[in-house]
Amino acid sequence: MKAKARFLIAVVVLGLLMTGPFIVTSFLVWVDMKEGERLMLTELLLSRLPLGTTMTLFGFTIGCFVLHKLFKQYVEGLLGMGEQLRLMLGANRNFRVKQEGPPEVQQLAQAANDLAAQRDALMSDVEAQIAEAKASVEEEKNRLAALMSELAQAVVVCNLDGRILLYNNRARLQFKALSQGPTSVAGGALIGLGRSIFSILEKNQIEHSREVIRQRLAAGKTPIANFITTARGGQLLRIQMVPVLAAAGEEGLEAAMSGYVLTVENITRSLEEESRRDQALHDLTEGSRAALGSIRAAVANLIDYPDMDVELRERFVKVVDDEASRMSRKLDQTMHDFADSMKSRWPLEDVLAIDIVAAAQRRIEDRLHLPTKTEEIDDTLWIKADSFSLVFALVFLASRLQDHYTPRELRFRIINDGKLAYLDLIWAGPAMSSETFYTWEGESLQAHGETSSLTLREVIDRHGGEIWYQREKAAHRAFFRFVLPVATPTAELPEERRSTGRPEYYDFDLFNFEDQTIDLDRKLSELVYTVFDTETTGLEPSNGDEIIQIGAARIVNNRLLKQETFNQLVDPERPLRPESIPIHGITEDMVRGQPNIDIVLPAFHAFCEDTVLIAHNAAFDMRFLQLKEERTGIRFTQPVLDTLLLSAVIHPNQESHKLDVILERLGIVIDARHNALEDAIATGEVFLKMVPLLEEKGIVTIRQALEAAEKTYFARVKY
């Protein structure tokens, strides 16, 4: 409109410009003229007025036309270009200004397009950089997780609420081994992403350690805190806490703690060993004082009063004799009782003796080109050894033997003698003098160019062992016997089948997660869920059918955690229906001897704590759980979402809402189906796909989801 008004003004101005000077000039001339001249001029002009007017009008029209043309091209054209530029700036990045109009406008358009191209290039570059940075952060996270998972220490990272953001495999196994009672059924149910560490460790102690760290940070000391705690089952854990500090903010500001890393070590065994050692030490020191006191006093009297009568002298001598033999007995007893704890503190590992021998054989054959054989071998014998120095010692002896006696071959023997292991290095040949052996014993180990700072004797001492030279006269051969402590290997924590793909032991996005107690008005994507499925003996819970398997997985932060699962067979304490066996694939043999529902249900309940339950056709599964409420006292009070009903909400016009059909409809490919855990995982995948679909329908919170589900037709079908 404004432009139009300006156009009209321009037209008026044009009209004035064309007529104005003529009229003004005429007026001035007119005023200046005499009467006769005026008449003459009037006559002259009036007769030619039509022509003049026509010419003026013609000129004005052409002027208007030109004006209009200019207006179109320069004003409206630029206005249009302005709009296009806006479009390019906002809605459609790829839009380009049309090059039209006069050359000046075209040049402007060209320049604008060039600017846009430059901007696009910059933006793409920034986007690429962002993507790259994201990828590298992701890669770093993965590398960290991979590193953590390989650590021999148990590591758990928590946010300030005590929610677990990361844990490694060792931590899972550690806590799994600790968990006793109902949760052991679940297997590591205690530890999980987003779960509270306080279910495992004492909250007060954690809070106290945080306070210690806060104070140490404030004082500029290394922020670290240690504590020892008793876990379930009386196991002692040494916990070390270090803070996770937010990236340093402004200069001079104390870095804020955003979480903490806990390393957990089970020290029960080492503490027991230590206290045994202490006990032995105590027995030997304080235990000897009384006896030594009596001896010393008696001896002093004997020396100081040499002229005492015979009877008294004999009594003092007897005191010395008594106490001395008492002390000897005590010493023997202590050594016997604490033999294991008195051993060297050098870090020895439990190894199979046969592995030591095999390694020594390989090296002797490779380096010394001396054939070796084994004789009597106890291949189940574990010893405590520093395998490197022990193998070196064997090779060293072999090399010395080769130099001095050139035996044709060497043989090895491993014998188990209760607490001690005998490892013999045997050769046939002439007797060697014990002096030679003592010399070798004191030499630094060296063989085939390799040397060690340790002597053979030192290696043996480190092992708390012994070595000697012995002849087998009858067989015309001799051997060196290594005596080494036998190890009782601790049962290795069972290595679990690793699922392929990225480990799910961490989720750093949880750093900023608030407390996760269930609030019905929270977004579906923010909550923690347990997706579960049950297998049962049949379809009629009220008619005595029972649960035979519960499978469940967790969804945290919109991610299905396939490593944090619950998978437990249940003894239904009644025969299975033969017709149901092909469906769930669970046989009588599989359920007999499994815990019954009284044991499994509390464990499952603990697994589900603080989460929303999800099941496909949840009403069916919940019915089974509810029927056990009275007997077990376990109630599942949390909200329950049903993927069947949610499917009906999303696709009200579809006929089938069976899990298989939904999987296909949503384009989800699942490896295997039809055991409880696999079905639970499938249900979880379905749910995750449904969240955005529900959002499209305006269903964002869990309350809305529950309400929508209730209104569907299927919700009215009751069991």
Binding site: T285, E286, G287, R289, A290, L292, G293, S294, I295, R296, A297, A298, A300, N301, D304, Y305, M308, L312, R315, F316, V319, D322, E323
Partner: protein, 122 residues
Amino acid sequence: MKKILIVDDEPNIVISLEFLMKKEGFEVAVAADGDEALSRAAAFSPDLILLDVMMPKKSGFEVCEALRADPAQAALKIVMLTAKGRDTEVARGLAIGADAYVTKPFSTKDLVVRVKDLLGLA
């Protein structure tokens, strides 16, 4: 003549202490446990008591506390003998009123010096 009460449940040390103290010219009595120590202390009214810590019935600490609580025994000197050499126990013995604390094994000469010292005989 100053009187010394020896309290220890180990006859092998009692025999030496008894002999030693008699040789040094003291009148000596012996008790083998904490209860006996208290009754002997009352009857014998010693000037000094050599008191073992680890004894049946009453420990040396208890005996020491009981004696220190008795105004009649205010002048009594108490030397504790112990097979425990920890600083903490020494501190406890001295804190509850022992005049000296001697750890087994000990030098008999030193013990005699300590005893005479405490009795003002040095």
